[in-house]
């Protein structure tokens, strides 16, 4: 069974701000793909960006995750629309790969499919915790002894004789 999400928005939360008050509700700053590419290129070409990107790459975070995060934050800032973000995302990955290669950093591009034989630590911890809980429950509950009920042999007149 899926565990409940506690960080989900409260119903009606989207109505708490004035319509058009959020950056993504107003027209995008860079409405076309070309403008968005230009924006990203100029941003990613800086040394500051490259340094922070390489740090994150060394931490082992996949480039696909980073590309999605970057474009999503730009959408939230009202830089471009979601559609433009989707179109631009492959180029962001390619650009990050170029930065990683030019710096000689080993990175996870996130393009390979997750293998089934690799299990994440978080999953293992979860299983371990659940097992512990189950073992604890078993120790607390007293074991019920299997008592065999003695079957009374019929003693009536019509009972079968051995």
């Amino acid at each position: 069974m899926a565990e409940p999400l506690f960080d989900a928005p409260i119903p009606g939360q989207s109505l708490t701000a004035e319509l058009g008050g959020r950056p993504w509700q107003s027209p995008a700053q860079y409405p076309t793909v070309d403008e968005a590419i230009e924006y990203y290129m100029s941003r990613m070409a800086t040394d500051e960006f490259a340094d922070s990107l390489l740090e994150v790459m060394e931490m082992g975070i996949p480039l696909t995750t980073m590309a999605n995060t970057i474009q999503m934050s730009s959408v939230m800032e009202g830089k471009h629309s979601v559609d433009v973000g989707m179109l631009v995302m492959p180029m962001l990955i390619e650009m990050m790969m170029l930065i990683g290669d030019s710096a000689g950093v080993e990175y996870d591009n996130g393009l390979t499919e997750l293998k089934d034989d690799t299990t994440k630590d978080a999953v293992l911890d979860n299983v371990r915790r659940k097992l512990k809980e189950k073992i604890g429950e078993k120790e607390e509950t007293p074991e019920v002894e299997d008592v065999e009920e003695e079957i009374e042999e019929p003693t009536g007149l019509m009972a079968r004789r051995k």
Binding site: T32, V33, D34, I37, L63, T64, T65, A67, N68, V84, M86, L87, V88, M89, P90, M91, I93, E94, M95, M97, L98, D101, S102, G110, L111
Partner: protein, 68 residues
């Protein structure tokens, strides 16, 4: 549920087989039009995904140069 479409989007970009823009050869006749009648480009290159692909191709070539 797919939460990050980046992988699928990257894989779907078939940049190796991008259609190269074909340049129109100007005709030299006296009655030939000096300007194109329609300003709207009709080539595939006008599509945003193709333009992104062209940018990607440049970046990938740079990467291939680096990696050898």
């Amino acid at each position: 549920m797919l939460t990050n479409p980046a992988r699928q989007l990257y894989i779907n970009m078939d940049i190796e087989n991008l259609e190269q823009p074909v340049e129109d050869k100007p005709t030299g006749g006296l009655l030939s039009p000096r300007k194109q009648m329609s300003a709207q480009p009709t080539s595939v290159a006008s599509q945003p995904a193709v333009r992104v692909g062209q940018h990607m191709l440049i970046l990938r070539k740079q990467r291939e140069k680096l990696n050898g």
